[in-house]
């Protein structure tokens, strides 16, 4: 059993690495590398949500707020505080963790839809602050992000960013898989199924939820920081409610609780709009329709439903 877990953990990572290695070979232009980089970045944020939603069963409709905090950290740190961009990047991720700790402590007592509305409120407030405090954040028009230099090497160009984001995703995926197979992962999945029973065997449910929330916020913060650094410009739109919904949608469409599901979900919602541009004004309608169709026919998400489909037919 354990062997099976380890092999499938390795298999997942190897497969992901393979895809990451193959995409640049197939990509006809650096535009495709950019799209792929975005897939990796949003997959990273979705992975954080997978830990929170998929493992621990706690929903957050405000995760774009953390994406925004991470993104604005790398913009505001160098521009207003004179900090090094790389340092700002890590500070941003840490700030996400801190904010998640402070916010999560009271609101994670709420359950189900009540937690959903509380996190939604958190996300809205972050977006509102980014929008309104123009002196610091640049307001609705956004803010320039300083280019990052690492040991004298200026990180720029689609290819470079492709490998940076892919590397971040690989690390994120490895950590998420680590948790899944660990004692902590078991307690998260346990409290997902029954909080009463988890408490009944001594699991500190509140602390575990908080840990998952903090980790997932750091994931989103890192993703936000990468997004800002790669784009070189960021707007409060990053933290918008629709982005929060999009992140949740990635997790659900891909397959809740599955690491590859987060990647597939991110690919679905990042690549699809690019593909649908040929439909021009029908784009929105078809996007909505596709989401409905996928969720109706693959209710557990693309990866999980297909997995189940195959397992059911396996001899």
């Amino acid at each position: 059993m354990l062997a099976a877990v380890v092999t499938s953990r390795l298999a997942t990572l190897l497969f992901l690495a393979l895809v990451i290695a193959v995409v640049p070979v197939l990509a006809p232009s650096s535009f495709y590398l950019r799209v792929a980089s975005l897939v990796w970045i949003f997959a990273l944020a979705a992975l954080g949500l997978t830990i929170l939603m998929g493992y621990a069963g706690q929903v957050s409709l405000g995760h774009a707020g953390f994406l925004g905090i991470g993104a604005y950290a790398v913009a505001v740190g160098p521009a207003r505080l004179g900090l090094d961009p790389l340092l700002s990047f890590f500070l941003g991720a840490a700030l996400c963790g801190l904010v998640a700790y402070a916010v999560g402590k009271p609101i994670l007592r709420l359950k189900g839809y009540y937690l959903a509305i509380a996190t939604l409120g958190f996300g809205l407030i972050v977006a509102l602050v980014l929008h309104s405090e123009a002196a610091v954040t640049g307001g609705p028009d956004g803010i320039q992000v300083a280019r990052i230099t690492l040991f004298g090497w200026r990180i720029s160009g689609a290819t470079t960013w492709y490998w940076v984001t892919a590397g971040a995703l690989m690390i994120g995926a490895a950590l998420a898989l680590n948790i899944a197979a660990s004692p902590s992962g078991r307690t998260l999945r346990a409290l997902h199924d029954s909080e009463v029973a988890a408490t009944g065997v001594g699991v500190d449910v509140a602390a575990r939820k908080l840990a998952a929330f903090v980790v997932s916020a750091v994931y989103a913060g890192v993703a936000g920081g990468l997004l800002a650094l790669m784009n070189g410009f960021i707007t409060p739109e990053t933290a918008s409610f629709m982005h929060s919904i999009e992140l949740v949608a990635m997790v659900i469409i891909g397959g809740t609780g599955s690491v590859l599901g987060a990647v597939v979900g991110s690919a679905f919602l990042t690549v699809l709009p690019q593909a649908l541009t040929i439909l021009q004004e029908y784009e929105q309608a078809v996007l909505g329709l596709l989401i409905m169709v996928f969720m109706i026919f693959l209710p557990a998400g693309i990866v999980s439903s297909l997995k189940r489909f195959v397992l059911d037919r396996a001899p």
Partner: protein, 395 residues
């Protein structure tokens, strides 16, 4: 167990590969007959800024259609590669990359909001391709970037126009209510920058969200502020219409100034009787039919208005006008450059002189990538449900 563990990942591989493959096949490959000239555009045709992006998109499409009917450009058809960023700067940036890397456009007219424009600028600067933006903020062309131009007047000129008018009426204490969207916030900031030059002070400074449905609480506060002599509302979309209605509802008696953000005749329809007496700075486009026959802009403005309104059935808006000016400047530059080489196009755009557009008369230079002065704005007042140009401020 260890046997079956391989299966799901194999399947995952298949599913993912299919998805990736689908994404690559989905690249559009519509090819026109005789090697078309590709002009790119990224606008916010949906999302919160669709109020701006929609007329821009329609204008660009109509213009290119008409151009191709007339035989295209330098004997070649023009292909407009148009993407909708939904108002999202990140998406805008992706589409900009796509225009450059994949579609290989020779120039770009677009960028509905300041945010999306700023996000796209590095792409065009790096690729050395001209980018004519349709967004308002001054930061787009100040400092001057080699490949970035814009057509809309800056908010600053609108503010100056309003303050000039206020000064003429000896109104020096105002209340402001601004939208918190990019347009409103940027214009508010610009107004506060130049307000000192006119000896005008702001006694009450309120704001409203982009999708707010009721501004009576804010307006009531301004109403109760002693000494307010006029009300200025920087904003676009439905905001100014609701502000105008609430202003009438509360029976506020001081004059109300709107901005060029109200942009089209539909404002008068939405605000109804409440719009009576409202003043605003606006380009000639809004009063096409009232322009004197000698007015230099008469011809271009009438032509655009006619073609847009007959094709879409909707009233023409200044935002569409920005796009019209942008594509015209570009097309004329290509004609003058007699080349589709991006560098030459850029040089030709920068050399634009006395170009009569719907917004004003453009005179660009190496130091000015906008080339409009305050005279491009006309002060209008709404009377009996129609725009009336105010005497004395016409040029």
């Amino acid at each position: 167990m260890s046997k079956t563990a391989v299966r799901p990942s194999a399947l995952r591989a298949g599913a993912f590969a299919a998805l990736v493959a689908a994404s690559f096949m989905a690249a559009p490959s519509s090819v026109l007959a005789a090697d078309p000239i590709k002009i790119g555009s990224v606008v916010s045709a949906t999302g919160p800024a669709s109020f701006l992006g929609d007329p821009e998109q329609k204008t660009l499409k109509l213009y290119v259609e008409a151009l191709n009917k007339k035989g295209g450009l330098m004997g070649r058809p023009v292909e407009l590669v148009l993407y909708d960023d939904g108002g999202d700067a990140n998406k805008a940036r992706t589409f900009a990359t796509r225009l450059i890397e994949d579609d290989k456009v020779i120039a770009m007219v677009g960028g509905t909001t300041t945010g999306t424009t700023m996000a796209m600028i590095p792409v065009f600067e790096d690729a050395k391709v001209a980018f004519i933006s349709l967004a308002g903020a001054i930061e787009i062309v100040e400092p001057v970037r080699a490949f970035v131009f814009k057509t809309p007047h800056t908010d600053k000129t609108a503010c100056q126009k309003i303050f000039e008018d206020l000064k003429g009426r000896k109104l020096t204490k105002i209340g402001m209510i601004s939208g918190t969207d990019g347009f409103g916030k940027s214009m508010r900031a610009q107004c506060l920058k130049v307000i000192g030059d006119y000896g005008i002070s702001v006694l009450a400074d309120e704001s409203y969200g982009p999708s707010d449905a009721d501004m009576t609480p804010q307006l009531n506060k301004i109403k109760n502020t002693a000494g307010v002599q006029a009300l200025v509302n920087p904003g676009f979309g439905q905001g100014p219409a609701i502000v105008t209605r609430n202003y009438a509802q509360l029976g506020i008696s001081v004059p109300l100034y709107q901005s060029h953000g109200v942009a089209s005749k539909s404002f008068i329809d939405l605000a109804g009787a409440a719009a009576e007496g409202v003043r605003l700075p606006a380009p000639a486009l809004l009063i096409a039919d009232k322009l004197a026959g000698t007015d230099p802009q008469k011809a271009v403005v009438t032509e655009y208005k006619k073609s847009y309104e007959s094709a879409t059935g909707q009233p023409v808006s200044t935002f569409g006008g920005y796009a019209y000016d942008g594509i015209q400047i570009l097309v004329s530059a290509i004609e003058r450059a007699k080349s589709v080489e991006p560098q030459k196009i850029r040089d030709a755009v920068e050399a634009t002189k006395n170009h009569v557009g719907t917004t004003g008369i453009y005179n660009m230079s190496a130091k000015d990538h906008l080339g409009l002065g305050t005279e491009s704005f006309r002060m209008l007042e709404i009377r009996k449900g129609d725009w009336v140009p105010l005497a004395g401020v016409q040029n």
